[in-house]
């Protein structure tokens, strides 16, 4: 079958690899119906060197179950499934606490002997724990929203949930990428009435307004901070959902968060150390939270309103490429000519 591999920076190739086979009794083989390219895929795309080992790509996909192991009981052949970006047994002590991204036996697609989702098929470990079945019949119009549930929607929701967004909290969302826009949608769904979106790509911030943003701040750095403070009587917002991952986004978050407020990060930090002392977090009782979203926890909760059409997170996709042309999708996202790209095997 055909599958996406990355080599050095910018070097994405579609190659012939063996069709996956069952290894463990709890596995399933999933034929990929659609996959997509993630903002986090671009970290490697931008920064890898030729010395890095080749890696299978893709951690966001939906598909149809082709084959199951002898110890798979909930998932059936023929099921249409949504895969969260991390696989998990969904039974360990962390999974039971709703933190499937810390599953003792879990992991991430495209590592070790587990393939990636930008391919024709993939072996899913812990099929019963990992995969969520979409009750049929399945409307192809909803594929983009199902893809959003594999990662970006659950990730934006995680940001808002960890920040304890409610009708009582004002919100700043930093970043107008797909995750930032999903954070806007999630904040709106959790009742927020004031959502300031920091982003400078008007097509994206316009979509943010569709999702519920009430204000858009295009400025960045000190100017961006000043603008948010101006919009909030100098106090900042109760919650800041940081969907970028760079250090300047952290600094902006510290600058716009209200005393007693929460910075919730879901952009994977591209830095290690940052200010946490008296002048940044401690003195004003700022809470810093977030991390890799346990999307598996959220899919079942968020799916009904997707199925009924109450929300349309799939709007974040603005381009589709064939699997053979997946490299074009990476390039479009890296060049920001696409917001988020669907890959069709």
């Amino acid at each position: 079958m055909r599958a996406t591999m990355i080599y050095g920076a910018g070097d994405v190739r579609v190659e012939d690899v063996s069709h996956p086979t069952l290894i463990h009794a709890t596995d399933a083989i999933v034929r990929i119906v659609r996959a997509c390219v993630c903002g986090s895929d671009l970290h490697g795309y931008n920064a890898r060197t030729a010395a890095d080992p080749a890696k299978a790509m893709g951690h966001e996909f939906i598909g149809i179950v082709e084959e199951i192991g002898s110890d798979v009981h909930k998932i059936k052949v023929g099921d249409f499934v949504i895969a969260p970006f991390a696989y998990a047994d969904n039974t360990c002590e962390f999974c039971r606490e709703g933190l499937q991204t810390s599953c003792i036996h879990g992991g991430f697609w495209g590592n070790g002997d587990v393939g990636g989702g930008q391919a024709e098929a993939v072996r899913s470990p812990f099929a019963d724990g990992t995969l969520v079945v979409v009750p049929g019949p399945v409307d192809p119009e909803l594929y983009p929203s199902f893809l959003a549930l594999t990662d970006v929607y659950g990730t934006g929701y995680h940001a808002a949930l960890k920040a304890q967004v409610s009708a009582a909290t004002t919100v700043t969302v930093i970043g107008d990428g797909a995750v930032g826009l999903m954070a806007v949608l999630s904040a709106k769904r959790l009742g927020a009435e004031r959502i300031i979106l920091m982003g400078r790509h008007q097509v994206r911030t316009d979509l943010g307004i569709t999702f519920g943003a009430t204000d858009v701040v295009a400025e960045r750095g000190e100017e961006g901070i000043a603008r948010v403070l101006e919009l909030t009587n100098g106090a900042g917002t109760h919650t800041v959902l940081e969907a970028v991952g760079y250090r300047d986004a952290y600094d902006m978050a510290v600058g716009v968060v209200r005393a007693g407020g929460v910075i919730s990060r879901v952009g994977v930090p591209q830095y290690d150390d940052a200010p946490v002392g008296r002048g940044s977090l401690f003195g004003r009782n700022i809470t810093l939270t977030g991390g890799p979203a346990p999307v598996r926890s959220y899919i079942e909760h968020l799916l009904p309103d997707v199925l009924s059409g109450v929300v349309n997170p799939g709007l974040v996709f603005d381009q589709t490429v064939s699997l053979e042309n997946v490299a074009d999708g990476y390039r479009a996202m890296a060049d920001r000519t696409a917001l988020k790209v669907i890959v069709q095997p």
Copy 2:
């Protein structure tokens, strides 16, 4: 009257100063009945230079109202009052959210034209907002517990509350000083059944056991982390209450916190930058919270069980000095021959 001033490191003096007078209509003059020396007083005691301007000391005190301004309506002359370590109007938007340490008009004792509490009397700004009346008659046996309510008990409680300690959470408390011990007591009161106290002064950790600690870990650094992980099947505890403020305590907190858990800091950080990236906080969804405790919010809530004798936070005091001998109190705490010292004017 006599009041405590600090000059250079280790240079604490009791001096003649003017008796405080009302300045604003919302002020009260409080005659100090007891004050105490705080662990945070020692930061200046250890680190000041002779070039630093002299500063009035003491932010923990109880006393009797001597005089009130024309716009003071709740507090009456003769009231026995507990003062939180920060004064606040208790009406601004932050105070209404329970964050009196970020009061727009508030501040800290011993700054500007507001004196310190290690003195014979002090002027309290915003008397109605700041001071909490103890319903009389007042039992002198309870003075130590009232003093604990001015800072260390509320601070330990803040750590536990911000960490969302409950019967469902395991707890590590880092630090066996007065605040750490009050964090133990608070965690116990919030229902925690497993409380690991990290500290190496047996008199103090014994008191910690009295307050509810179930395990004591005397080791520090990597050894301390290993010991806590050993006690928790390798997972760490859901919550970590950090009551020290040094960078190595932060690193220990990161080492012993469970994935998905909370580090709650109430020791004033003596550092600015610390690891917050993928390998420390983000990757395991660790929440970092805490800050200066809005003790004013907590005194009324915690007072009834002090009055009824259900809890005795005053046990953290193990020495009393006269105001004239306050320097001995600082020295005893700096030398760790005293856990916490009462000052009697």
